[in-house]
Amino acid sequence: MLLAKSVASDLNDILTSKTVDGIVHSVFDQACNIQLDRNSLVTLISSKLPNYPATIKLDVAEDQKLCSFGFKAGMKAIVNKDEIKIPEVCISIKITGAKVWDSAPLFLKPTISEEALYENIEKIRELILEYGKTEGIASILNGDEVDNNYKDFIIDSVKKLAKGIKYNDYKMITEASKRLIGLGPGLTPATDDFLLGIMASLYYIGHYFGNYLENLKKIAGFMISDLLGRTTLISEIMLKNGMRARFNEPIRDLMLAITNSTSINDKCMKLLNIGGTSGSDCAAGIVFGGLLMIKVKRLK
């Protein structure tokens, strides 16, 4: 029997007292995804990872890898709000009693000047180029230096997306985003992470400039209005959560820091360290979206 250390608040909607069957969708060193139906996933993560929406962090040793429990894709999982059982490997995970991690957006009253905000974003750009991984699309921040198939492939769509947001042209947003979903290797293709970063900036920096959340949500909604079947299930769910302004802990922390603090290095590095290129791709989205929102300020 394993104990859950924390559980994301949004799982309240997914995990109920009714016991349902799911299947283990995929297993990695630090994470194991359990698919409940076509549209929902519960992700078990090791205690080493930060909190994410829709995840349950397990109370296991830091270096304990989840694949070491014997989980394999395709195994049956029996799930309710108290417990997840994977009978094939005799493991049950007790959820009751775990700390709830509130994955809801956290908007604070901005405390820094626009100039400081701009500097924060520039700082992130520097950190990405220095410490980030540019094999994904983070190299988009760096002009033409890096030869990268992905970057060349999307540059026009990225520009179009910027234009769409700037002019509040929903059709343009949808069309551009469509050309940006699901590109790149990995479970969360690089462009999806990038879009998630843009959404984070859209919400948090949009909020900094006093935009109504409803309007921001509308744009985010159009960004993923043609999502279905365009990317992996995991990525799809990640983007849907992003649309609802639910981001993982490092993104949320970084966004709060950008709009409220002048020391962002730690928070940014934490994000950059996520996944293969995911963290860097997402941070690139934050920079891109941030600069865009500074330009746009108030949505039309």
Binding site: M1, A61, S68, F69, G70, V89, C90, I91
Partner: protein, 420 residues
């Protein structure tokens, strides 16, 4: 021809071992429960041994047991009685029982009662006394005796009641889980003890004892990581016992030490012991002690390795390998080496770090002799003087001659039967 016979016999033995279903049923008083147990009998760990040959910790434990039983009141008289011939000594293993370190069991002691549900046979083991100065390390001071009485008068009855409320406990699953939580089932029992407490706690609370008593019992179990060891051991014992006396089998069914000698029994060789001098444990000594303080290897706990856990499952418990200054990789290699001398990979006991490979199970004396690889055993180190207690923990190996002698006897047996 003979090889096929051996393989077939070993296959049968391994089926029995893998199918074993050790289950905790109850607690009872040794004299009433343990077959062949009498008032003036003392059971001990390892192969048979006379009082004269006993090492310090075993003697200490015998003295303590005599005092505890009220047969004699003081140390001097107890020693006289112990040597008088009036007391009969017998290995735990001759009574379906096992005991850690000195392994001393006397008539009034409470014992766990286990049954191998698959084959119906029983096994027994005392309750673990905790750490520090304890009888199993040969201590017999007042506090030791007092604790034993408390165990008899409160701990055992309370747990018995809780068990009655709970019903039988499937120990195999619990041990399997413990292995996945960093135990190896011999020298690290933290996970197993925790699992046991978790299962029993709600029922302990429901017993008809006072709050204070319940708290004391829970605290007692909680304070002792090795509490579960005294369940792992009889679980292994009843698993292995079901596989004894299978003609032509070269699988080891018992390994045990009495502090002077190391002994093994082989399924195809019946009740015979093959013994050699007990080794000195190579390991980490607690501050203030040197190897000179260490008693030779002692205890029945090596039944764990015999059944495929303990040192054989070292890869599951990298923390343990620190006792011998090793790394996590060494822990894995310790386990991998044991596959060289065992018959099968366990179907239930699995090691996360080896991608859930089953633990190496079923020591084959042929493989031990042929490869020259000895079983590697995790164990505690007792002080050589009675009453001092544990001075360290580490790794030990049986003497090679046990296996060589057994092999020779095995061949002679077949020759006598005109099979070869």
């Amino acid at each position: 021809m003979v090889q096929e016979r051996i393989e077939a016999a070993n296959k049968k033995v391994m089926e029995i071992i893998l199918n074993g279903q050790p289950t905790l049923l109850d607690i009872g008083r040794a004299q009433e429960i343990v077959p062949g147990m009498t008032e003036k009998m003392i059971l001990h760990a390892g192969p048979p041994i006379k009082w004269e040959k006993m090492s310090g910790p075993l003697r200490g434990a015998v003295i303590g047991a005599l005092i505890y039983e009220g047969l004699e009141v003081d140390e001097k008289e107890a020693i006289e009685l112990a040597a008088s011939g009036e007391i009969s000594y017998d290995p735990c293993h001759h009574h379906n029982a096992v005991g850690p370190m000195a392994g001393v069991v006397s008539a009034s002691m409470p014992v766990w009662i286990l049954q191998n549900k698959a084959y119906g046979n029983y096994s027994y083991c005392t309750l673990n006394e905790g750490l520090g100065k304890v009888l199993r390390y040969g201590a017999y001071s007042d506090e030791v005796i007092k604790r034993l009485r408390w165990m008899e008068n409160l701990l055992a009855p309370l747990l018995k009641q809780a068990l009655k409320l709970y019903g039988p406990i499937d120990l195999k699953t619990m041990i399997a889980q413990a292995l996945q939580m960093g135990d190896e089932g011999h020298n690290r029992n933290r996970a197993g003890t925790s699992l046991l407490i978790r299962e029993l706690a709600p029922y302990i609370v429901q017993t008809k004892f006072s709050e204070e008593e319940k708290i004391k019992v829970l605290k007692f179990i909680d304070s002792n990581d090795h509490f579960f060891l005294n369940l792992t051991m009889p679980a292994c014992k009843c698993t292995m016992d079901a596989a004894k006396n299978i003609e032509f089998s070269t699988i080891v069914t018992v390994m045990a030490r009495n502090g002077t000698e190391f002994g093994i029994r082989v399924s195809g060789l019946g009740e015979r012991w093959f013994t050699g001098p007990a080794g000195i444990v190579d390991g980490l000594l607690f501050p203030g002690y040197t190897t000179k303080d260490a008693n030779p290897d002692i205890g029945d706990s090596v039944i764990a390795e015999t059944a495929g856990i303990g040192g054989f499952a070292m890869a599951a418990a990298p923390a343990i390998v620190q006792f011998v200054g090793g790394s996590a990789k060494d822990a894995i290699n310790f386990t991998l080496k044991m596959y060289e001398i065992t018959a099968v990979e366990n179907n239930i006991y699995k090691i996360p770090a080896l991608d859930f490979r089953g633990t190496p199970t079923g020591i084959d004396i042929r493989k031990v002799v042929e490869t020259g690889i000895l079983p590697s055993i995790n164990t505690g180190i007792a002080h050589k003087d009675p009453g001092v207690g544990q001075v360290g923990a580490g790794l030990v190996k049986p003497p090679m001659n046990c296996f060589e002698d057994a092999l020779q006897a095995f061949v002679e047996d077949l020759e006598n039967k005109n099979i070869i």
